[in-house]
Symmetry: C2
Subunit: 261 residues, 2 copies
Amino acid sequence: MIGIFDSGIGGLTTVRAIMQKLPGYDILYYGDTARMPYGSKSPATVQQYAMENSRFLLENGAKIIIIACNSAASIAVDAVKASFDLPVFEVVDPAVEAALATPLPHRIGVIGTRATITSGIYEKKIKALNPDATVHSLPCPLLVPLVEEGWLDTPETTRIIKKYLHPLKTRQIRSLILGCTHYPILEKPIAKKIGKGVRIINSGSCVADTVARYLKEHPETDTLLTKNHNHRFYVSDITEQFEKSAKTMLQESVSLSQIRM
Amino acid sequence: MIGIFDSGIGGLTTVRAIMQKLPGYDILYYGDTARMPYGSKSPATVQQYAMENSRFLLENGAKIIIIACNSAASIAVDAVKASFDLPVFEVVDPAVEAALATPLPHRIGVIGTRATITSGIYEKKIKALNPDATVHSLPCPLLVPLVEEGWLDTPETTRIIKKYLHPLKTRQIRSLILGCTHYPILEKPIAKKIGKGVRIINSGSCVADTVARYLKEHPETDTLLTKNHNHRFYVSDITEQFEKSAKTMLQESVSLSQIRM
């Protein structure tokens, strides 16, 4: 199966992208809702959680792993790659590549949780590939709770998005990376506020493209992946609210099962 | 020492109230920042965490325990009382008693996290003491992230408070329980929006009153508590943001130490 984990239910936006790009592929999802959010936690803690989540996916039949959590991707991908003998993907690199594939000049905005932005991972990776690119990064900690509250198009959400994006608008960015799995749900109001000239980079779609390309180039991995339209969703904690949010993220009904770590 | 735990740093508003009401008393604080917030988690998970936190306090010299987390108070106080042989206080009962001590008619509003409001604990306890009281409860999940973002008096925060409190205003409540340890930090804008006729009940202050009264009535417990102005603050995860928030909550500088459970 394709194993995907996130700190919570936000990673389901990546699952949705995978389901669209690789229809029929079996998916095993693990959302660590009992310890979410990772965004405000220290690197050591996030790394420990990422290792535990990866082990769960591996032990339950995952043949590739996608880290669909920007905080964990930034901090823990190297440790996961070093510890487990299977292809590991994450949501940062594909978004960086997509941003650098847009027309010049490369004035790139990045929004995410505080941990992701503080880690500087997007800026480092963009600069490593193109030292001339300009990167403006901005933490937007209120967007996740707004999505989870279901305030997707309220005036309050619009105002907060406007307030957050203002510094990026004045810097005339040309592309904007949504560096958090929850943000695709707010893609419309974000696109509206940042303006027409800015290309929005959705990291879930980008990683789905990357995985699809990898499987075409590596048939030996592709044959390991079963394709029976089997989608299993595990979480470390379950509440009515998580189930409601999961439906918002996946944009279809979903049945969550609880696993205690 | 007086042991106090919370899911994060919000419980420091209760520590502040204790320091004001019982100056000099030694305090041992534990904030479970690695697993915060509890508000969105299931009762079984919150109960497990509360037991672990209580054990930590007991093993490190606590002679009384204050559960300064509304989610844990609602869900786990009975389990903690049954498992540990020391006086256990929590933030719900004292606030309920304070609300019922206000002049008639008892039209009481309660705001808190989704877990606290869904548990119905305030309504049940108020009705048990006074079946004639009317209780209007309302989850306000965005207020905690707004406090942690440091947006204490921005127009966005004012708008969100206004939107949340609107249903309580139309019901003409007479008192409003701040059923979350973060909310005292927003007491001024909340008081302004709900209007002059409504008495604000701050649960941190109420539990400090209850503990002070208990110690006066139980000198055998009071003598167990050292009084050397020694305040120790432990958290399960530490970041710059937590340190900044801790200062906001305690309204003075604070040094946090990390303990892994």
